[in-house]
């Protein structure tokens, strides 16, 4: 979960990292008051959870409080990358002698936290890494042992920082490491960390990401920062469809209907679970299909959860048919998902055989599931039909020119059949039916 710059600065302040004089404003008037208090030229910065503020006109310089107020007015109304700002940060513009970069991240290969420090601050650190790798110092540190300041000192010294600078920077970098651990950050970055003309150091911009999984145990900090429990802080704001998807998941604790994400295609997807959904979404696109949504169902959902998710997807404007597909399941029951998706179709007044382009979920309780699908004439497939082949068949059904709402019996003799009572015996073995 990404923190706003003004929140990241609060975290730095409470851990004793020096900051440039600043204030957070939600209005033009507040911005003017902060600029007056600072009493020198300021910079007004949009508080949005996205990069590229400068380019988008979200960062402006002001010499007077009036100018700061005018900039604040403009920036507060400026949408950047689909986000409206939370407010503006009014920051003093002190004369800077040199800019540094200081960061702490996890190194996923070494599986330890690591420092990243450079005397080329103020620009994208990935760019520095490519063009001037020798100007970046790195160093891992233990998370089992208490943090030792010499780890920070070593990183600084490795790129030639010495003298008074070394002794002033060591505690700053050490504090950054400690807060990274203490607050479950996955990124704690000060860029730039500025050396002022008087030789002191201050953080001029900060970026922090906190691990979502750690939110419960970081509740005290989040409360202090005023972060609401319902703030997702995703890369983009959730849509109405996505919020409804979350509701479907949360009202029933049985199973998971996660990561419901809206796209603008015509093929609704009821897919699962983690890796299966990634594979199937790609498969639909690979065969020229246009998914209306992404989702991950699994963990043995109830009939009602499967039904409610299916209803949500079917009700989305533009959705012609749905494809119900998963990789082989062992925990989730095929028959329960089958019941759920058929229930959803019937309750919305649709013929399941027409609305469900394909049902491909092999695994636990598949024989029972396939019997139910057979009864309603829904095309289904077991593990002998690959995930990509299932996706291809689904795509074929929605993109056929002028196919309309009626199924094409010529193409699939089973699909249009009326519901029957008797479950066919031949399914008992493996169900090798359904070669479309």
């Amino acid at each position: 979960m990404r923190l706003f710059e003004y929140e990241s600065r609060q975290v730095l302040a409470r851990e004793g990292v020096p900051l440039s004089e600043h204030g957070f404003a939600r209005s033009e008037q507040e911005a003017r008051e902060i600029a007056e208090r600072i009493g020198r030229p300021v910079v007004v910065k949009s508080q949005v959870l996205t990069g590229g503020r400068m380019k988008a006109g979200g960062v402006k310089f002001a010499d007077t409080p009036e100018e700061a107020a005018a900039h604040a007015r403009a920036i507060l109304q400026l949408e950047i990358g689909g986000h409206m700002p939370r407010g503006v940060l009014v920051d003093s513009r002190a004369p800077i002698a040199q800019e540094y970069y200081a960061g702490v991240i996890y190194d996923g290969v070494r599986k330890r936290p690591t420092f990243v420090f450079s005397d080329m601050g103020g620009i994208d650190i990935e760019e520095v890494a490519e063009t001037h790798p020798e100007r970046i110092g790195r160093g891992h540190f233990s998370m089992l042992l208490p943090f030792m300041d010499f780890r920070a000192k070593d990183v600084l010294a490795s790129i030639g920082v010495t003298g008074r600078d070394l002794n002033r920077l060591t505690p700053i970098l050490s504090r950054l490491a400690r807060l990274f651990v203490k607050y479950d950050m996955t990124l704690a970055e000060i860029n730039p960390l500025a050396k002022l003309e008087d030789g002191s150091f201050v953080a001029v911009d900060a970026h922090m990401d906190m691990e979502n999984e750690a939110r419960p145990r970081q509740r005290a900090l989040l409360e202090d920062l005023g972060v609401g429990e319902d703030e997702t802080r995703e890369a983009r704001e959730p849509t109405r469809f996505e919020i409804e998807g979350e509701r479907v998941d949360s009202v029933d604790h049985r199973g998971v209907a996660g990561n419901v994400t809206e796209f603008d295609g015509n093929l609704g997807l009821v897919i699962g679970a983690g890796g299966g959904s990634l594979t199937l979404f790609d498969a639909v696109r690979r065969h020229g299909g246009h998914p209306a949504n992404y989702c991950e169902i699994g963990g043995n959902p109830s009939v009602s959860k499967a039904a409610n998710l299916t209803k949500l997807v079917l009700s989305k404007p533009g959705v012609e048919k749905i494809a119900v597909m998963m990789s082989i399941v062992s925990n989730t029951r095929v028959d329960i998902v089958a019941r759920g998706v058929i229930k959803a179709c019937l309750e919305l007044g649709h013929d399941p055989a027409e609305k469900i382009a394909i049902f491909r979920i092999p695994g636990a309780w598949e024989e029972e599931g396939f019997k139910i699908l057979e009864r309603y004439g829904v095309e289904y497939a077991d593990r002998s039909v690959s995930m990509h082949e299932a996706a291809r068949r689904a795509v074929e059904k929605v993109s056929g020119d002028g196919a309309g709402p009626t199924p094409s019996p010529a193409e699939d003799p089973g699909a249009g059949a009326p519901p029957t009572e008797d479950p066919p015996e031949r399914l008992a073995g493996s169900g090798e039916r359904i070669e479309g």
Binding site: Y106, G108, V109, K111, R112, P113, E126, S142, M143, L144, V181, D184, T186, E211, N212, E213, A214, P216, R217, E234, A235, R236, N259, T261, G272, A273, G274, G275, G276, S277, L278, T279, F281, D282, A283, R285, R286, Y294, E296, G298, M326, S327, I328, V329, S330, N331, P362, G363, A364, R383, S384, S386, M387, H388, E389
Partner: protein, 312 residues
């Protein structure tokens, strides 16, 4: 009497003894049943405060040390809730357990790093977190991988291909495809879907390399992280006898930086994390990247130099 524990060459074998931590939880009860039915040796379970109970005939203890005092314990499957998971893993590691499979998901990264650091110091190996475990088809399984014994037998036939996957479900899908094609599986490892995991592809490669049964490797990968780049580097640095086929899911995520789908570890944070970049890296190292799961058996045979249709 307790004797020295060891991890066999290919993680588990018929003699591997293990415990289930959090054994009285709903999922753990199922997992215990499945593993026992498959022939695995579970010598005890741990749930603090539940000493004296039994789960499918497996005695429950209050602590790992109580089990190790009575039995040789080669491994542990950890299924406790995220809040208590770090302590459970540390308990196993410091009790001398050398193989810890962490099933639990949603564990904060800081906790995972601490577990791994402790395991490194004690000479233990962690698989996971957020994984389904390990299976040696026809021999033993450790974790929920493949589901009930009957289902696991259907998807996993003993064979020649090692499988490593960041997705538990896709481990079974791929293995089932290999089984249906007559190639079968030597050992399959669900390595976990988190950004930081105990054992990456590259770290498990030497084990497969030394395993006589394994003739080829299939890996399932996703966007996010540097694990595929690490594998590519490992392959370039070592003259491996094993051909590797990879499958990359989540290609659509390249267009959606900053968002995470499927597993916690999938977020694209930099250029090197994208599916497209990973595919380039893997292919540069001579690892063939399949477009579809169904192509994998033929690609394996092609690389093994055996004619399509010839069962191993």
């Amino acid at each position: 009497m307790a004797t020295a524990t060891s991890v066999p060459g290919m993680l588990i074998d018929a003699d591997t003894t293990f415990i289930v931590q959090g054994i009285t939880g709903r999922e753990a009860v199922n997992l215990t049943r499945e593993c026992l039915d498959y022939g695995s040796k579970i010598v005890g379970g741990v749930t603090p405060g539940r000493r004296g109970r039994e789960v499918h005939g497996v005695p429950v203890y209050d602590s790992v040390a109580q089990v190790t005092a009575e039995h040789r314990v080669d491994g542990a499957v950890v299924t406790v809730p995220p809040t208590f998971c770090k302590d459970a893993v540390l308990e196993a590691v410091y009790a001398g357990v050398k193989l810890v499979v962490v099933v639990t998901e949603r564990i904060p990264r800081g906790d995972v790093v601490q577990m791994i650091e402790a395991a490194d110091a004690e000479g233990a190996r962690i698989i996971g977190p957020n994984c389904l475990g390990i299976i040696r088809p026809g021999v033993a399984k450790m974790g929920g991988i493949g589901g009930p014994a009957r289902d696991a037998a259907k998807a996993y036939a003993p064979g020649s291909v090692g499988v490593m996957s960041r997705s538990g479900g896709m481990t079974t899908e791929i293995s089932s495809t290999l089984t249906a094609a007559g190639l079968g599986v030597s050992t399959a490892v669900s390595i976990g879907g988190d950004a930081i995991i105990g054992s990456s592809y590259a770290e498990l490669m030497p084990l497969f390399e030394a395993d006589e049964q394994t003739e080829a490797i299939v890996v399932y990968s996703e966007p996010g992280g540097r694990m595929e780049a690490e594998l590519a580097r490992w392959v370039s640095d070592h003259s491996s006898r094993l051909p590797i086929i990879a499958f990359m899911a989540g290609r659509f995520m390249d267009e959606m930086p900053g968002m995470s789908f499927g597993h916690a570890g999938t977020i694209v944070e930099g250029r090197a994390d994208t599916a497209a970049e990973k595919i380039v890296r893997l292919e540069e190292a001579g690892i063939r990247v399949a477009q579809e799961i169904a192509e994998i058996p033929d690609l394996v045979r092609e690389r093994l130099g055996t004619a399509p249709g010839a069962a191993s």
